[in-house]
């Protein structure tokens, strides 16, 4: 944001409105005031955030590697074909953009270089600055940290389209209609995958069907307050549990909830357990416990492809 604020000042100056900088500064600073007050009254947040992202750590990337990382944010493969590396933020069967900007975006950059317009300059600088937060955090292909690429890329693509059809104005409407149709068609394909096979591919990235497992636990309580044990191997299970209990109005189960690493026959009779079945060791332990009669299998929780990801047990 400070980079975009500096860009705002640049545009203001370039347009001969240098005296208006104070309005821009006021607009930028206004929302920051409560934030600054809050940080001042909660100083540990800043230090903890710095520590979480390991700023100042010796393990961090060197400047040369970061340069390379920055470069890859403009890779055509990333922007137009495969998207980000994390399936939470990308399906990996489509890029960040549809295919149309593959030619239009570079054309837009060329158009701005040949004849810099204020909008074009802002869009170009905005595009170039978009990956900076991700670079500061040493993250590559993290579109979630560089989403500003999208609006600036679209604006540049439109500038590129205008530039390309300048020589043949008669083709403008037909070209635009074709591009829209092609992009819409590509989006249909993307949407079909997004609501289809992507759900299967991305299941592990979303920690599998933990929602189904927690719902099964609540369902099995039958409205009563029973001891609940949640496998510590399930990432963020406590947060998911709190969310789900609040959503279904069963916060009474919170106090009765404990975590566990290994199945323990000492848990009270009637306890309900949610076990991660994607961990082979845990799965083997669970099978053995069921065969030994220590626990009763209540329900298997499956993924869209039928793979069992969790089991609900009862003591």
């Amino acid at each position: 944001m400070p980079a975009f604020f500096a860009l705002t000042l640049f545009v203001v100056w370039r347009d001969g409105l240098a005296g208006d900088w104070k309005y821009a500064a006021l607009g930028f600073a206004g929302p920051l005031i409560p934030f600054a007050i809050w940080i001042a009254t909660h100083p540990s947040v800043f230090t903890e955030t710095v520590a979480r992202y390991q700023f100042g750590s010796g393990d961090r990337m060197g400047p040369l590697d970061r340069f390379g990382l920055y470069w890859r944010y403009f890779s055509p493969s990333f922007l137009f074909f495969s998207g980000g590396s994390q399936l939470v933020f990308s399906t990996r069967v489509a890029g960040v953009f549809p295919l149309a900007p593959l030619l239009l975006l570079p054309a837009g950059v060329v158009a701005v270089l040949r004849r810099p317009s204020p909008l074009g300059v802002v869009a170009t600088i905005g595009l170039l600055a978009a990956p900076l937060p991700a670079i500061v955090l040493d993250e590559g292909s993290a579109i979630n940290r560089a989403l500003e690429i999208v609006p600036f890329g679209i604006v540049l693509s439109v500038i590129g389209f205008n530039w390309l059809v300048q020589a043949r104005p008669a083709l403008r409407t037909a070209s635009a209609a074709t591009l829209i149709a092609v992009t819409a068609g590509q989006f249909v394909v993307f949407g079909s995958d997004y609501f289809g096979d992507y759900r299967r591919r991305a299941a592990s990235w979303f920690h599998f069907n933990v929602r189904g497992g927690l719902a099964a636990i609540v369902d099995q309580t039958g409205g009563a307050r029973r001891p609940v044990y949640l496998n510590d191997a399930i990432p963020w299970v406590e947060s998911y549990w709190r969310f789900h209990l609040t959503a279904v109005g069963r916060n009474d189960l919170l106090d009765a909830t404990r975590g566990f690493t290994h199945l323990d026959r000492a848990v009270p009779s009637g306890s309900l357990l949610l076990v991660s079945f994607t961990d082979p060791a845990m799965a083997a332990e669970t099978d053995a416990a069921i065969r030994a009669g220590d626990f009763h299998l209540v329900r298997e929780i499956t993924e869209p492809d039928g793979v069992v990801s969790f089991v609900v047990l009862e003591r």
């Binding site: 040369l64 590697d65 340069f67 470069w71 403009f74 493969s77 074909f81 495969s82 270089l113």
Partner: protein, 505 residues
């Protein structure tokens, strides 16, 4: 003046070829052995008479150009590490001269000299001009094609066009990657003619025919050796050539995932980190002291691209198209940061940088001129640092990449062995079966060849082998000592690391 400059360039490039790179790579040894065989018998190591494609090992076939040029050198010079690297020096300096011709035609004599200086001081060009391998030869052919086009311009006549394209056909015999690059350059030629408004069909036919005529023996050879294509596909892991035919393989390569992966590789060849800071990932093709280019090029190349795009014109667009296709060979095999597969980029960048300097000097007033002076003056300064490191610490960093001091170990045995001695070489010494006969020829001790045995020290019954000398890794030495051998000498690296041992029973 030209002679003085040539001698200066030669003295920079040809000095101490047996010092750095520290040892020979296995590719250099393989090519040199075939070259020596052709020079002395007319046949390669497999017995083929003057072959077009030379079988090396397993699935690997070498292109003939550098082998034949090296054979020509070996006709008049003795076999040595210096001799087998001299052809690359010659080709490297030839490239420098052709860049001068191209830039002189585009921008004038001074800019021609500047472009040749920039290429001369390009670390990747210097490195590859001192390796006895084939990567630089395709650059010479492409520059010859470009030089003809630059000289004649878009009013070129069919005869000259045929000659220009013939150089592209010739490039097929220089480096495997030319099979990708040469057709791309033919396409560039046609696009260049279209942009120039040429409508006469004969010029396009000449552009294609020149390439095709010289490609015919290449294609014919592959048709009579159908297995080679599949083997090379396997070697570069393009697709499973045992279960897929060429058409199916092409579909695999054109699949979205493959295109996406190769698109990423292509983009990474223009990564500033690779080009200006870190260079090649391996220490065979780079020192990692500098990038592919020196630092001032970080400004000059983008500036040159900008100037070329703004100025337009057929010669400027030719530059841009050449830059765009320069990494294609590397992209097809999906290998990142291997500049040896994209060396065409080097002279193109030199001309682009010269375009930038010319623009700074003529059109940007005094600040532009000072900027040009500072940037150009910085080149030899940084090159000096690179040069010092190249002959210094680079040798120490890089010796594992050059198969360790096999030369030292083998020379010890060759000098000591008597007529009756058997020689035992550990199979763990990769490529030793190529290095050994090479050094036997270098030192004129071929008679030791039939008495040489390669063994696995972990499995062989070392107690049962006869008297003689052994060469093994330092870590294997104890097995030989336990079997009654005594150490003759420890073979050390420049950092005094003991990597090999020469033993005797």
């Amino acid at each position: 003046m030209a002679v003085v400059l040539a001698m200066a360039a030669l003295s920079i490039y040809a000095t101490r070829l047996d010092v750095s790179p520290i040892y020979l790579t296995h590719d250099e040894v393989i090519y040199a052995r075939n070259a020596y065989s052709i020079a002395t018998t007319g046949r390669d190591l497999s017995g083929q008479l003057l072959p077009i494609s030379i079988p090396v090992t397993g699935t690997f076939y070498a292109t003939p150009a550098n082998i034949y040029l090296t054979a020509a050198f070996l006709k008049v010079l003795p076999l040595s590490e210096v001799t087998i690297r001299l052809p690359s020096v010659l080709v490297g300096l030839l490239c420098v001269w052709m860049v001068y011709l191209i830039a002189r035609r585009m921008l004038g004599v001074t800019c021609g000299l500047l472009a040749s200086l920039i290429l001369l001081l390009t670390p990747a060009h210097f490195i590859h001009s001192r390796l006895g391998t084939d990567h630089l030869y395709v650059v010479a052919c492409v520059l010859a094609w470009w030089a003809v086009l630059a000289r004649d311009g878009t009013s070129i006549r069919p005869g000259r066009m045929f000659m220009a394209s013939a150089f592209l056909g010739l490039s097929l015999y220089t480096y495997l990657g030319a099979a990708i690059t040469a057709p791309a350059c033919v396409a560039i030629t046609c696009a260049w003619l279209v942009m120039a408004g040429r409508r006469d069909r004969t010029i396009y036919l000449a552009a294609i025919a020149g390439f095709v005529v010289l490609a015919i023996p290449f294609v014919a050879w592959h048709l009579t050796h159908p297995g080679q294509y599949a083997q090379q596909v396997r070697m570069y892991a393009l697709y499973d050539s045992q279960t897929l035919d060429a058409a199916q393989g092409a579909r695999v390569l054109a699949a979205p995932a493959s295109v996406a992966e190769r698109g990423a590789v292509y983009w990474d060849y223009f990564n500033p980190s690779f080009l200006f800071f870190a260079g090649d990932t391996g220490l065979l093709n780079g020192t990692r002291y500098t990038g592919v280019f020196l630092l001032p090029m970080l400004i000059l190349i983008p500036a040159g691209i900008l100037v070329a795009m703004m100025a337009g014109g057929s010669s400027r667009w030719m530059l841009m198209m050449l830059l765009a296709v320069s990494p294609l060979a590397a992209v097809v095999v999906a290998e990142r940061y291997r500049i040896n597969r994209a060396l065409i980029m080097l002279p193109v960048a030199a001309v682009l940088a010269t375009v930038a300097v010319e623009d700074l000097w003529r059109r940007r007033g005094r600040p532009g001129r000072w900027a040009a002076i500072v940037l150009i003056a910085s080149l030899p300064l940084q090159f000096g640092g690179f040069y010092r490191d190249y002959f210094g610490d680079y040798r120490v960093r890089s010796y594992p990449w050059f198969e360790y001091n096999l030369r030292g170990g083998m020379a010890e045995i060759i000098h000591r062995a008597d007529d009756g001695d058997e020689i035992w070489i550990s199979q763990s010494l990769q490529w030793a079966d190529y290095y050994w006969p090479f050094y036997l020829d270098v030192f004129g001790r071929r008679e030791l060849g039939p008495r040489t045995h390669f063994l696995d020290p972990a499995r062989a019954r070392l107690n049962d082998i006869g008297a003689g000398y052994a060469l093994c890794r330092a870590g294997e030495e104890q097995r030989f000592l336990d079997a009654g051998f005594t150490r003759v000498t420890a073979i050390l690296e420049p950092d005094q690391a003991h990597t090999l041992s020469v033993l005797r029973r």
